[in-house]
């Protein structure tokens, strides 16, 4: 967030140094603010910290004993970590569905709440980076991935593109959020030049992070299940399901506990988006399944395994039908007129489609790319307790980060928190 600190204010004739001091003061205030709270706040954060602890504990043991503590094998060499990584890139990109209406269509209500989506992008990207780190066999060599310090294989490796895309997106959002909150906190009008161009770049960047992530998989000729041109569009669509669904839930929590007064209109807009994207996602899924199963042959092997199993191997079958059922049910509920009046139905739909997409992107997409393996061997993958602990640990860490950021951002946005003159 430091580039905002160095930015001179276009309105007030103040020096860079004064703003650097001011921004540090803002960060100090934020640090103080997140260490004070109601009993409910403490139960929530300490609860999350306990889950984080189990994750850290399991990860330290994984590093010490080797990746053999996971359920992954040379046949299924990516599992729960990369599945969650992929899903969370989508969640980070999904926030852009708030940014587009807020800035390009000048939706007033969304303009007041869009910061929730931008902060979500920060938390989600941090989780993505953590999921990559825990998946590395040699986390001590992570610096090899850093341009100039290591050997950055750009542009050949799509993973090097992803390093740029994800970290760039993190910086963009950190700057925009930091700058806007700082200005609000001081009661000053943000200088449009200092954030608007970056918001526009951020919209394109959001599309790019998920496209590049899809290209990691669909560019591999040796994995027929992934080698489909529909991969990137499907990734984006499912991102625009998971993102809005999550934010609708967060908006309601923020209205109830965070003193957010806006958000009614945002929920309506996002519900409208969700109503469309979930069906596009289902159509694309159906198109993939039809193409594979009707054609038959070896290209259908994975799809058939996913939904019906293969020769008694059925580890993914319950996941897939749960996902399909949840997405279909959520999509149908979203058509009921009552979702606009009764929030319980909307919440249920959001949880269903969010969970459905999480399964579809993880167990339904990353894992089956390896089943059957390149030499058509059938080896199934079942995550171990260590993998689940690390996975939930990272999710808890991300939620904790998001909570703390919201704890500062919400009162600043609603005007309850202002710098004393």
């Amino acid at each position: 967030m430091n580039e905002a600190a160095a930015s001179p204010n276009p309105e007030a004739p103040r020096g860079v140094r004064s703003h650097a001091r001011g921004y540090l003061g803002f960060l100090r205030m934020a640090a103080g603010r997140v260490t004070r709270g109601s009993p409910g706040f403490w139960i929530w954060t300490v609860g999350l910290l306990v889950v984080v602890w189990f994750g850290v504990d399991a990860w330290a043991k994984q590093v010490e004993q080797g990746m053999g503590v996971t359920g992954m094998t040379d046949h299924v060499s990516w599992g729960l970590y990369i599945a969650n990584f992929t899903f969370l890139v989508g969640l980070a990109a999904g926030g852009v569905m708030m940014v587009i209406p807020a800035y390009l269509y000048r939706d007033k209500d969304l303009h007041e709440t869009v910061i929730l989506g931008e902060l979500l992008a920060i938390a989600a990207i941090v989780m993505c980076l953590l999921f990559v780190v825990v998946d590395l066999g040699r986390p001590d060599r992570a610096l090899h991935l850093v341009p100039w310090i290591g050997e950055f294989h750009f542009p050949s490796s799509l993973m090097s593109w992803d390093v740029i895309a994800l970290n760039g997106y993190l910086l963009l959002n950190a700057h925009v959020c930091g700058y806007l909150l700082y200005k609000r906190y001081r009661g000053e009008t943000p200088g449009r030049g200092w954030y608007l161009p970056l918001v526009v770049v951020g919209i394109a960047w959001a599309i790019s992070i998920h496209t590049v992530t899809a290209f990691i998989y669909c560019g591999l000729g040796g994995r027929p299940f992934w080698n489909t041109a529909l991969m990137a569009p499907r990734f984006l669509t499912s991102a625009f399901v998971a993102g809005p669904a999550f934010i609708i839930l967060i908006l309601q929590i923020a209205r109830r506990f965070g003193g957010l007064t806006h958000g009614e209109g945002s929920i309506r807009t996002l519900t409208g988006i969700l109503r469309v994207t979930i069906w596009i996602n289902l159509v694309m899924l159906g198109s993939e399944v039809f193409t594979a199963l009707y054609t038959g042959g070896s290209h259908a092997a994975t799809t058939h395994y996913l939904y019906f199993g293969h020769d008694g191997k059925e580890a993914l079958v319950p996941w897939m039908w749960t996902s399909l059922g949840a997405m279909l049910l959520g999509a149908l509920i979203l058509f009921l007129p009552r979702v606009d009046r009764r929030r319980g139905w909307l919440d249920l739909a959001c949880v269903l489609v969010f969970g459905g997409v999480w399964i579809e992107k993880g167990m339904g997409l990353i894992v089956p790319g390896f089943v059957p393996s390149a030499l058509h061997e059938w080896v199934e993958y079942v995550p171990t307790p260590a993998e689940w602990k690390i996975t939930w640990g990272i999710w808890a860490g991300g939620l904790l980060l998001y909570t703390l950021m919201l704890k500062v951002a919400l009162p600043v946005m609603t005007g309850q928190l202002r710098q004393k003159p």
């Binding site: 990746m67 066999g137 001590d140 991935l145 040796g222």
Partner: protein, 310 residues
């Protein structure tokens, strides 16, 4: 922001709330320190500063490389109790290695698998090897009908056998996808891995259509007297945990003019190895005079590994 709650009214006095928070924070910090203890343990035992700052193989100068090789020889002695020699075998001018395999005579005995296991210092409990043999149904080249877990007497009626190892592609997708250039194709066509540079992301393992890459899920376990002491930095030296490995055409042998271990172990003479640039080499004779089949040729990766039939 100044605290405004009542418990902070008396200046100088530590309130109950502050004390509670302080105690909680200390407890939490201690708990996390305990959770991280295995990490510290691992760093102490497995990591050295030299290794942490070590450069990429292709950027090491002669002196730097000498020190690295000496360090690995020392750690083989410390960790495994074995005296080994780790060389740096470089490609020879005018050589591109190729391999041909006669499917007509292979009987699926897996002697090559075993030879690779011993020659290349594979993990013993994991039964590691760079070669997988598929038992195929006669009348089909469809890998879907193959079975890599066959047992019992071979060759079985109605079956033929398809050994698969790294095809040393001219356009290796595994090399393209590596985010840190830890793997590359050398001038003699052998695709190698710098085990000291690999970060263990396993993208290459996903990219390979021949299932040729293997990951070290744990630190390899090998009894002292089973360790092959004749080793090479980019070849068969004992790999660290958490990195990728693959078939390197036994470069510690072939770059010295010897034959790969899998070929020497084959009892039927199904394996033919040699220099593709030399028209009189055995492998060139096979390619020039026999009918040759390339596995998954449609992927366009141009392997230097060929199958032929009698």
């Amino acid at each position: 922001m100044k605290p405004v709650c009542a418990c902070h009214a008396k200046p100088g006095a530590i309130s109950r709330r502050t004390a509670l928070k302080g105690a909680g924070a200390m407890l939490g910090a201690a708990a996390f320190a305990k959770a991280l203890a295995p990490l510290a343990n691992w760093a102490r035992e497995e990591l050295t500063v030299e290794e942490f700052v070590q450069k990429h193989y292709r950027e090491l100068d002669a002196e730097g490389l000498k020190q690295v090789l000496a360090r690995h020889e020392r750690s083989a002695l410390e960790d495994y109790g074995a005296e080994v020699t780790i060389g740096d075998h470089r490609p020879r001018e005018g050589v591109v290695f190729g391999y041909a395999l006669n499917l007509g005579v292979c009987i699926g005995c897996r002697k090559c698998v075993e030879a690779c296991h011993r020659e290349n210092n594979h993990d013993r409990p994991g039964r590691g090897s760079y070669i997988r043999v598929l038992e195929m149904e006669k009348g089909s080249m469809d890998l879907e009908k193959g079975n890599a877990r066959y047992e019992g007497l071979v060759p079985r009626e109605g079956r033929f056998y398809l050994p698969v190892q790294c095809h040393q592609c001219e356009h290796p997708p595994c090399v393209d996808v590596c985010p840190v250039e830890a793997t590359w194709r050398e001038d003699d066509g052998i695709v190698v891995v710098d085990y000291d540079w690999c970060i263990g992301c396993r993208y290459c393992e996903a990219a390979c259509p021949y299932h040729a890459r293997k990951f070290n899920w744990r630190k390899p376990a090998i009894p002292k007297d089973e360790i092959n002491p004749d080793q090479s930095y980019l070849g068969n030296r004992i790999r660290p945990a958490g990195v990728i490995e693959k078939c390197h055409f036994c470069l510690h042998r072939t770059r010295e003019g010897r034959l790969p271990a899998c070929l020497e172990a084959c009892p039927t003479g199904a394996r033919v190895f040699g220099n593709l640039l030399d028209p009189s080499s055995a492998v060139r004779k096979v390619i020039d005079h026999r009918r040759v089949y390339v596995l998954k040729e449609e992927l366009g990766l141009k392997p230097n590994f060929f199958y032929f039939f009698d």
